[in-house]
Symmetry: C2
Subunit: 273 residues, 2 copies
């Protein structure tokens, strides 16, 4: 039975796990959130790579045959190292599928990307989009305040609205022709309602929002073929959730993301050894 390991710095990757579970209900999923070391977004490439390598080793030890790096920052920094160890087909990041979806969606060829400082400075989306569509113009903006706003639960809040306005106005000044915006961090889809309203207001047109969760589920189709409608009676594969710190907080917030009853969240110690 195919086992998929999904790794994120914290909670955000649950949107990815949910998209996979919805599309391939019979797949067995192991989710790992590195909550002891989050957030990754403002740390160095070396530190993020070190953490990602440790986390992926844990998933492999538990039997994951396919690994999804659901964190954009970790995808941007650590994917080459991880793929060198485990093979290119076995470890998937979120950036390439997101870039593919953006290229498919844009008409103007002007694509915006918002993400953490490290994701933006890595130029991961620039490179992935350029490989698919050399003529596309990519404008990326680091929006580091959004993750703490989501984590504090200020989803539909005046502070979050003003923060998004500030960032989108900066993006609009740099590239007014954007018709597609990549949500380059797994936390951002939670802000979709505000982002839809404010991109329309500030860019004066409907801006297509790209959420990599759906894109990565699509990219898994070759590996998970046949698990679409369930291999077994009942149809649902196993679900296993683990975090490196604060399992109770994780379980509480995860319950709002996850439609079925969440199994107990395990606390694992992945301090470097």
């Amino acid at each position: 039975m195919s086992k998929v390991g999904i790794f994120d710095s914290g909670l955000g990757g649950l949107t990815v796990a949910r998209a996979i579970a919805r599309r391939f209900p019979a797949s067995n999923l192991i989710y790992l959130g590195d909550t002891a070391r989050l957030p990754y977004g403002a740390k160095s490439e070396e530190a993020v790579t070190r953490y990602a390598v440790r986390c992926v080793r844990y998933l492999v030890e538990l039997g994951a045959e396919t690994i999804v790096v659901a964190c954009n920052t970790a995808s941007a920094c650590a994917l080459p190292t991880l793929q060198a160890t485990y093979g290119k087909t076995r470890v998937l990041g979120v950036i390439e599928p997101g870039a593919r979806a953006a290229v498919a969606a844009t008409t103007s060829g002007a694509i915006g990307v918002i993400g953490t400082e490290r994701t933006v400075s890595s130029r991961g989306y620039h490179n992935a989009i350029a490989a698919l569509a050399p003529d596309a113009r990519v404008t990326a903006l680091a929006t580091p305040v959004l993750v703490p706003l989501v984590e504090t639960g200020w989803i539909d809040h005046p502070v979050t609205r003003l923060t998004i306005e500030t960032y989108l106005q900066e993006l609009h000044s740099a590239a007014p022709g954007i018709d597609t915006l990549v949500l380059g961090c797994t936390h951002y889809p939670v802000l979709r309602t505000l982002l839809t309203e404010l991109t329309t207001a500030i860019f004066g047109r409907t801006v297509h929002l790209v959420d990599s969760a759906e894109a990565i589920a699509e990219a898994l189709a070759p590996a998970l073929m046949g698990l679409r409608s369930g291999d077994r009676q009942g149809g649902l594969g196993e679900r296993h959730f683990a975090v490196t710190d604060l399992p109770a907080s994780f379980a509480k917030v995860a319950a709002t993301f996850w439609p079925e009853t969440l199994p107990p969240v395990e606390a694992v110690d992945l301090t470097m050894d």
Copy 2:
């Protein structure tokens, strides 16, 4: 020559280091910022204690005779463990000095505390203030969005103003009689101008703001007696700065905090061993 080790999760403790350097110029200071694992504020007590123990061991190995835990979260979580290992007089936290300054400043007996989630949930300020003034009424509020706003450099920014207004209105609803507010996180003194303006507007009186940096420098007087005006020609002790990630970013921001030229910032690997 007395050597003081100052430890914080990141940059914030530089306000403490600077207060010590100003008061005792001839003291030798070693500063360690655990930037690989920051922020501490939303992590578990166990994780924060584990990190603090590792960081303090590093400072002791470098010869620090007195240790200042400049991080409020680490002071709230890890001080008993650290003092059990190194002795009560050798390891000082920021909470007790801050509580002492708040009790000295209040007239109404109503004291507010703002800090990270972990600092507030630990009830460290409640306990420290109760030990000094059993009749004082303490109201503490977690204000987790402020640290990322400071770190992103939005010091005098509409988003920061609206965030502080939101938090202070919540604090005012809970305890309108507050006349003293403890800035229970080393990042907050950077927001002093906005905090002064908005506490006055919302509470309708001058609210005394307690910054633990000055309080901790005062608490060090017995250990650093004689270093006030300089023991040696020239008068300045040694300064040593180290971080666990991103030394270049640290040096850049630290330069705005530190009046003299900063010596090179060392990167140290304190992964758990």
